[in-house]
Subunit: 343 residues, 4 copies
């Protein structure tokens, strides 16, 4: 942390801060000239927030100079993280598409969808057995019964399962079935859940909270990584802004920005971001062109009968079209110069 003091700050103020830092085990150095006084304290950001340091008298500003996360940071890392799920590699430069409905509704629904998802060559299947719903009166998912149906899909269609875990109480049962455990946007700062995910044997798909800064998102990943689970995939799914033409605002430019800071793979979920079927294909293409490692796409055999989020689910034919177009764009861009990689 770089602590900027008022040019007229007394030596006593400077010394007070330095001795406070020392009491907490942090070495620092002071500089001054005619116009400014600064204290450089490289490890202070690990113990104190900016506002805590700015609470001292005469402090004008505290500025982070080192990364607040260790495991999520690109610093000292030589290559992007690659995550294996079955025979699939994620983060190695390939494009990973995940398809399926919002929620598990019935065996028939699941099998109908899984069939065409598998036929399209997609290897990961998504569907929620536990659904976080804004209203206590909305459909909350089939729970254990839903997990059992996902287990059947896995065997019947050789698909890997991506499904959400909502809390620590149901973590074990989700972990048993899922090949990739999703932590949803609303739980991005559910720290107890993040710690449990950090002790999981399965990789974690960590969705960005709808008001989370990039820094907060990487710190949420750090909660998982620092507990020992190194297999984390980030997933952008739209942020909450005043812009009202789509449900959330898809923040695609977070991808190049994140590349500069982290080695973790980044997915995009255009379905939840926009919440409108007709925008999913163009946004998916944009996500691939901008450099996403993967996509989460909602598809449903009968969107108008879906128990949740039917308005954003693609029909079978549109899903196939999306998969094809995205693969073509991805193929075209292989080997192109990219300015945005930190490596």
């Amino acid at each position: 942390m770089l602590i900027v003091l008022d040019a007229k700050a007394s030596i006593a103020s400077v010394k007070q801060i330095q001795s406070f830092l020392k009491d907490h085990g942090i070495e620092s150095q002071a500089h001054s000239d005619l116009y400014s006084q600064t204290i450089v304290a490289p490890n202070a950001s690990k113990k104190f927030t900016i506002s805590e340091l700015e609470s001292f008298e005469d402090v004008v500003r505290a500025v982070p100079i080192t990364s607040p996360y260790k495991y999520a940071s690109i610093q000292g890392v030589n290559a992007p993280t690659v995550i294996d799920i079955g025979s699939i590699k994620i983060g190695d430069g390939s494009l990973c598409i995940v398809g399926g409905p919002c929620a598990v509704e019935s065996k028939e629904q699941l099998f109908n969808i899984a069939r065409y998802v598998a036929e399209s060559g997609v290897k990961l299947f998504r569907a929620g057995a536990y659904k976080p719903r804004t209203s206590p009166y909305a459909f909350q998912g089939l729970g254990l019964e839903g997990l059992a149906l996902l287990e059947k899909v896995k065997k019947e269609f050789s698909l890997n399962i991506v499904t959400e875990c909502l809390d620590n109480m149901t973590f074990d049962e989700v972990e048993e079935v899922a090949d990739l455990i999703q932590i949803g946007a609303r739980n991005m700062q559910n720290f107890s859940l993040l710690k449990r995910a950090g002790r999981s044997t399965k990789p974690i798909l960590l969705k960005r909270g709808n008001s989370a800064s990039l820094n907060e998102w990487l710190l949420a990943a750090e909660y998982i990584l620092s507990e020992g689970n190194s297999r984390v995939i980030l997933c952008e799914r739209g942020i909450r802004t005043w812009s009202d033409h789509s449900r959330n605002t898809l923040d695609l430019s977070v991808i190049p920005a994140a590349r500069k800071l982290t080695h973790l793979p980044i997915f995009v979920d255009p379905s939840h971001a926009v919440g409108r079927r007709d925008s999913v294909l163009p946004c998916a293409r944009g996500a691939v062109a901008i450099g996403a490692d993967g996509l989460l796409i909602e598809t449903h055999c009968q969107p108008e009968q879906a128990l949740s989020d039917g308005s954003q689910a693609l029909l079978q034919s549109d899903f196939i079209d999306l998969v094809d177009q995205c693969r073509e764009i991805h193929k075209l861009l292989q080997g192109k110069t990219t300015l945005h990689l930190g490596f």
Copy 2:
């Protein structure tokens, strides 16, 4: 829900939606004239979201016409909810101030602060034993040891304790000590925690999520209320916007807006909202003048030594001053015409 269809929508489209609704147990009525076609389905909002209904062909818009929450709603309620904590009444038109430090740090710190809080006539004491922190490396609270210290404060100073619960695993132990259990902004949509809170014997202080709409906030309260716990206090603590002069943007106008919709008491936490000591007093005064039922104020005997959020904690003298000024404004406004009450 009022479902607006394209003026050129076919009768078949209208019939399809009506029979879909009927399959889910919802009666509806259709109207049409030269310029529009509409379907009125009063209970559809309990089963379907707006976007689900907008996913049907020819649907232009779906508009809620009834409240999506039942227990939190002012409809059919004759008086504001009043909550008793010890000898204190909350929501009866009086002003309830809660004071204390951000976190429990030590017995000495706690007693020093509790002493002047109690002397000021404040009856509720706040301090966190479990702290939700953005970084896994920041101070996470003293946990059980912190709860034990709060128990001591309670006995020594006859103060009621307000403290945060972060997860279901520690709910029982927090419930034993707390007189009012806080659910923090990051957990406003941690639905498992809300359900557990709904089965608690203690009242709940539900902070607004930093990107939660008023509707989502009331639906989070509904999760608690619908499980049987009728004692919920809402607490505005700032929302995340691009405005950068304060940590969050204190959304005080949510108070009159909420009064029109709900009978629950509403508190304001100016300390977390602004994150700057010098703005806490004016914002607290504003909150009282706008009609808040209570305030959460951070105060610390030695803010520059605080382990978290020191920059927003008031010194003893400023805290006393704030309590006095807020009480005077509150007293002045007793009995004034207020346009904003739903009652």
Copy 3:
């Protein structure tokens, strides 16, 4: 407009609104059933805002049912608008790239950049002679002298000139030199300027205000179109949100949303949106893949010497690379099924 009244609203309330509308020349029809009462008034949105109608007693909600703009709307239009600038066509399915520095600084700077822009096959050159600057003390552009230099670039390199007009006083002189007149984000609701632009003989590039909804943006275009100038290009350049990894948040999903509502061409300016050189290439690729008709790209021969916005300007080699990659993506997507076009 569809006006929803309380189910218990009196007939008098309904009649009062209908006669008020009639006084202002608007015919309406009323419907009622057990659960709701509604008034359908198709042209009310042209005279009244939503909140004006919601101010009547017993009105629960007013909902627009027709488009508030006429000339900008896709309704009744059979094909996208195509705009000719010299030999270039914009909006016909081709990709139009505009390159150049933020500001005109000197003849040498301009010619150096124009040379490689022209060599890359780009036909439109951008540079500001008048610069809107947040601070009165920042470089405000060379003004008339800058326009004269742009005139020279036009002749020397056969490039079409895109340059910004800030106010009505300088409109004539900008109009003389520019082939495409830019109205910047800060001026999107400078209605006097929009009306003047509506009487111009030159096409207008209308940037989206940094807090403008899609609806407000199209209404700003309507100001120009309704004065008689049918040649308007929309340009997304990022919106202001709390997300802090880029200067603004590039809202790419506005493109498919706009396609559903308007026939006007849409450009994207990734340089101003992100404000970071390393994100410009990926975001430009994303914009093309999502369906933009054109791009505005900042490039500078010596970014570190630029008098404004040097941090986002691409070096020559990166600019050439961007042009090549974007053209390849655009070519690949020719003829692909797109779900998002209104036509």
Copy 4:
């Protein structure tokens, strides 16, 4: 500006930046230790933006250390600015209330409203002759005819007139009638208009843009002040956020934040901020309690007949009630300790 470089930055990088600064007339000093390298350049912020300085190689961050505005800044100023309008003083610790309708509609309407506004003891009357409207088809104001009617109100009721100017073309005519010229939120960065206002003989009420940071607002004021007009009043009127219970989000905490930076008086316009009649009184009370120097309140004799913004206009009786309550709160707080004043 404090420029933070990578700890591994070469001496050449440091020297390059220093010589670049010197070329532009800015002296700087460099510091380095094991963990950081910094350049202190006190006046760089007057010539370069943060992102321009961050575009140099090896620069990690540029941090302002001095204020970017001179005349608007509290630095070196000993007392708040007090502005005289007729016999009224603004900014001297008194409370200034401005009342009136959104727009001039007719002589009858204006006189009816002016009568009770004057009787309430309010000395400033507001009404727009020129109205900025999102849609070209909405009522745009009576223009010159409206100004003539305001002139009549002024004489008949001895009220001072506050009215908006939209552009440079109509500035002279507005200036002749107005005692306080309003620049609206949409024009906050209409720099030509700001410069003209800076040469006016009348004081200026500068509304905050709906997406303007405090810094940008003060820089907009600086445009006026630096042209020679020292009489500027700031006016908070709500900002655009995703929070949807009110039209805009009233950002009251900007008042104490602004007090720390500027000596200019600050008003609040709760009517436009919330856009709902029932929230205006509580928000006005909040504004006074938080420390506003004045209020802009919309009132109308027949809100349901208003040609614009009727939904937020107060009835006569509610207006009188508001004036009374706000004066009582203001009186109560006279002489109270306030932490938030920069003086």
